[in-house]
């Protein structure tokens, strides 16, 4: 017996993923602006799904309030741009703001359990939303445009935004990937599997959860920044909408809670659904809600988790597995 992380498939696939990221960087050069905008949306979904999964899949923290950080990222961008900061640096500042705000929130929110945490986060998002609505400088209830981005020619603007989206997605996914592979990551996966057992083995559960919470704060803030950069207009009703949580839950549950690859798969699926049902009418949301509930009840490990279990497939390895040495590469 030996312990193995990489397999031939996972080496090839990780290489292919890096190559794909490099290839994606050329998208704005090859496609028209509307395609670039849609692909930016896909990257936003991937980022959101990965961050929600970091919280729920590894930290056991089910948040219905991550739209708080999406909103802070989006409104932070408008705020800093309004102070005279150039738009793209303003976006980086807004991402840092969302991450910074997540630290004091974590001090309080992480003491809550299950439903208290879920709805507590929701109420925090509502409070921030109400505060934005009360602020005339941020457009109050009617919304506000990121006018400063108009200084760029639309094709260039769309390209810069796409590259920023690609940059954020790669940074946050890589951060999560290396975090999960580090010795810290082993303790995170232990918490995912059994929090009490992990604690009894000396894992500092609270500190680990805080790390995930702040990472998700940064990541959802970055997604909010990208949303305002991609649509140029935000209003509190939609940016602080609980619908974002519904999308995140759908992507992660269908893709595979607590797997690294699953949420990416879920994001691609949601993107495909959104592209084919452009109206986004109520039936589409009925389908999303029913599918999410069904997966939670019947297939809790999601599509990817189930594939992984059945086939022993690892594409982006964050864990280890035990392999019999007899013969060739057979999984034990």
């Amino acid at each position: 017996m030996r312990v193995q992380r990489w397999t031939r498939t996972s080496k090839a696939f990780t290489g292919a993923t890096v190559a794909l990221a490099a290839l994606l960087a050329t998208v704005p050069l090859l496609f028209e602006a509307s395609v670039v905008q849609r692909l930016t949306n896909l990257l936003i979904l991937v980022l959101l799904a990965a961050m929600w999964n970091a919280l729920a899949g590894y930290g056991g923290l089910l948040s219905v309030g991550q739209q708080a950080f999406i909103g802070i990222g989006a409104y932070g961008t408008v705020f800093f741009a309004g102070l005279g900061v150039s738009p793209y640096p303003a976006m980086v500042l807004a991402t840092l703001l969302a991450g910074a705000v997540s630290v004091p929130i974590s001090l309080f929110a992480l003491r809550l359990r299950a439903a208290q945490f879920a709805i507590g986060m929701w109420v925090i998002a509502e409070v921030i939303s109400i505060l934005v609505r009360l602020d005339q400088n941020l457009g109050a209830g009617t919304g506000i445009s990121l006018l400063q981005l108009n200084q760029y020619e639309p094709n260039f603007r769309q390209a810069y935004t796409f590259w920023l989206a690609l940059g954020f997605t790669v940074i946050f996914l890589a951060a999560l990937f290396f975090l999960l592979r580090s010795p810290l990551g082993v303790s995170l996966q232990a918490i995912r599997d059994d929090e009490d057992a992990a604690r009894s083995l000396g894992v500092r559960v609270a500190a680990r959860k805080r790390l995930l919470f702040v990472l998700a704060g940064f990541g959802c803030g970055a997604a909010g920044v990208l949303i305002v950069a991609n649509t140029l207009f935000i209003e509190p009703g939609s940016i602080f909408s609980v619908q974002w949580s519904a999308y995140m839950i759908f992507m992660v549950l269908v893709g595979g809670l607590g797997t690294f690859e699953g949420p990416i798969l879920g994001a691609i699926l949601l993107f495909a659904i959104q592209t084919n049902f452009t109206q986004g009418g109520p039936w589409y949301l009925v389908g999303l809600g029913a599918t999410a509930a069904l997966f939670a009840l019947v297939l809790p490990r999601g599509l990817w988790g189930t594939i992984e279990e059945r086939l022993g497939l690892r594409l982006l390895p964050v864990g280890y597995r035990v392999v019999e040495v007899k013969g060739d590469e057979r999984t034990a």
Partner: protein, 292 residues
């Protein structure tokens, strides 16, 4: 005097929140789960009453009695199809499943009833228009008194049910320790189904009050859920009478906030909820306590 008036109106508003929160509190007390579709079920109840009123022209209060069996059956179905399954796996599953259900209910209502805002206030007769002028700055509406009285009756009846009927004893035993209750021959599945049916029925009563005292639309549910959950937490999770007091406290916090600035209404309620959470650090007691 405006403060006194705000507190009085807050108590009436809070009685409504307490009714909304009651079912949530029962389900948490008995099964330790929070139903994230609770607000949407209340709104669904409002629509069922609305349909009956529209088609027969009867009073909403009578229509609610007609709707009650429908809602009770719905509660059983909810338990047997969604909740029972989710109880068996992990603490996150019930939250995820009921969140999905919440989106389904909202959008089915949207498809069936359009996004139009509705109210049953006009159908409820004199109760919505009468009020007593106590002093120049203080008036008491008949509807407020009705809701407060009904809220106290509902909580009182539940107390009586839990403390003096066999079915109530079984429910408390199951809430205390389901496995031990099974050992002495209590069918926990049946108890859970009854608890959910009861919770859904009382949620529908909350929906009726929502429809009469203000307006509702297919997406009103999440706000009702948040207020109901706040009432449960402020009163202490797992405590039935606490939920009534929590509802009243939330109502008073909101009207006092609105007294400063109408836009602060929900905000002050949220802040009270967050302060209670901070003070208690999420250490809710997990037992269905009843006053003896």
């Amino acid at each position: 005097m405006t403060i006194v008036n705000a507190v009085v109106q807050g108590i009436f508003l809070g009685a409504f929140y307490a009714v909304l929160a009651c079912g949530l509190s029962i389900m948490f007390g008995v099964m330790r789960i929070i139903n994230l579709a609770h607000g949407d079920i209340a709104v669904l109840g409002a629509y069922v009453v609305f349909v009956i009123v529209e088609s027969t022209g009867m009073s909403p209060f009578i229509a609610f009695i007609v709707a009650l069996p429908v809602m009770i059956v719905l509660g059983y179905v909810l338990q047997l199809t969604v909740l029972e399954r989710s109880l068996k796996s992990g603490i996150l599953t019930p939250l995820l499943a009921t969140f999905g259900l919440s989106i389904v209910i909202q959008n089915l209502l949207l498809i069936r009833f359009s996004p139009d805002v509705r109210s049953l206030g006009g159908n409820a007769g004199a109760v919505t228009t009468s009020s007593w002028q106590i002093t120049s700055g203080l008036s008491v509406s008949a509807l407020g008194v009705v809701i407060l009285v009904v809220a106290v009756l509902v909580f009182g009846a539940l107390q009586l049910f839990l403390s003096s009927t066999r079915a109530g004893w079984r429910m408390r035993a199951t809430a205390e320790d389901a496995d031990a209750a099974e050992l002495v021959g209590i069918d926990s599945r049946g108890v859970y189904a009854r608890a959910t049916a009861l919770a859904v029925a009382i949620a529908a009563l909350g929906g009726l009050f929502l429809a009469i005292r203000s307006v509702f639309d297919p997406l009103s549910g999440p706000t009702q859920l948040i207020f109901a959950f706040e009432a449960v937490v402020i009163g202490g999770m797992g405590s039935l009478w606490g939920t009534l007091l929590g509802g009243l406290a939330l109502g008073v916090a909101q009207t006092l906030g609105a007294n400063i600035n109408p836009e602060y209404s929900a905000l002050t309620g949220h802040l009270l909820f967050l302060v209670v959470l901070v003070v208690r650090f999420g250490g809710g007691r997990l037992s269905l306590r009843t006053a003896r």
